[in-house]
Symmetry: C2
Subunit: 235 residues, 2 copies
């Protein structure tokens, strides 16, 4: 079919803007050069001249890379490669208000998935100090009647510590990004079912399992601990 081939050709005319092309070229340049973090790239003017476009276009392309966290530009040094802090970047752009409801719900679920799934890493990497700190945290565990804000604070401290124990920095960042979303979903009217405050496995119980149990036991206990959230999703 000469026709479909032709269509394909038409499709392939680049509808992309100048900046798009430059951006692609720069990214490719970065990849090719096997750049390391801290390495610096040519000056804006040099790039402009060598690519035959204005400095404006170069700046816009560089700006994109900067927003994506690929580079960082200093006043005199020019631009240097940086290791992108993925979730830091998204975190900025992602306040709950701008996300649609489906995504919000998805992220709510994502937290549950993570905390159940990370059992093995907790057991593998926990140190005696970690355990001591966990015990200290649950030592102050408030009962259900206690002040609401204090409960929240305690929740964050405990679960945050668990993430920390996994030794997975990316996971922690991810959690920090999820945190406001989770809170938002939890309290906005997004989930129809009411908040259930039955207590299942407590933080104390989880720590007990971390100390004497297995990842398998922990997963089940955590699943149980999170039952209040699950029931709002599933019932």
């Amino acid at each position: 079919m000469a026709f479909s081939a032709l269509i394909e050709d038409f499709k392939s005319v680049d509808t992309s803007s100048l900046v798009d092309k430059v951006e692609a070229k720069l990214v490719q340049l970065l990849k090719d050069r096997k750049l390391k973090v801290g390495d610096s790239i040519p000056k804006e003017i040099e790039l402009a001249e060598s690519l035959g476009v204005s400095r404006t276009v170069i700046r816009e392309a560089l700006l994109r890379l900067r927003v994506m966290g690929l580079i960082e530009s200093k006043k005199k040094k020019g631009a240097v490669i940086t290791s992108p802090d993925i979730f830091g970047i998204i975190g900025k752009s992602m306040s709950p208000h701008v996300l649609d409801q489906d995504t919000l719900r998805d992220m709510f679920e994502l937290r549950l998935i993570l905390e159940i799934g990370m059992a093995d890493f907790i057991f593998q990497r926990i140190t005696p100090e970690d355990l001591a700190e966990l015990k200290k945290i649950v030592g102050k565990e408030p009962d259900a009647t206690q002040d609401y804000l204090f409960n929240i604070e305690h929740e964050i401290a405990f679960h945050g510590k668990l993430y920390e124990i996994t030794g997975n920095e990316t996971l922690r960042k991810f959690q920090r990004m999820l945190l406001p979303v989770f809170d938002y979903v939890h309290h906005s009217g997004l989930l129809k079912k009411q908040i259930n405050n039955k207590r299942f496995v407590s933080h104390r119980g989880l720590v007990e399992i971390i100390e004497n149990g297995s990842p398998e036991m922990f997963r089940n206990a955590m699943r149980n601990h999170l039952e209040n959230h699950f029931s709002r999703l599933f019932d």
Copy 2:
């Protein structure tokens, strides 16, 4: 100490650039106005005038929002709000080559966490059609001696289907982002331990559990299924 207080004061001097401020103002504007997707924001020139800065600055601020996926600008229409596709955005910026080793390893682990943690959602939301498709996929499960590429393809098909079953679109996007990273880490020399090809619980076994078992059983089976990866991390 008057000194440290002074230092604190000095820290609080506004080191942010003009564009930073404008960006913040715009984001705030978006939040305040309770904008809906598809709504459009003022023209660049108007913004420039009303904020008292040059169009250049406005453009850069807008560009940031665009890169973050908050807005989209058309030739004549001006800029309109869009629902940000979080992982789509990062996916673009995030080829394995630009990530440092720790982050790569973190993301490798993240996949393991997700697949173990998502058990409940699979059981809750699977449909008979999903189950049939899973069976069809494992029906073609290659044995270990088979062609390497075919194995990869099969892996992706099977695990990808599991993500799909969870009904969590954000999770799927996250996985698609993780995929190349996982593959990269798996084959680069990042993990010292050799690839182990012992077979543990098979895909077939997982499907069997999905059909007749419980989330609890599935988590353990999946943990076992992924043992080859875990052992490379832990041993």
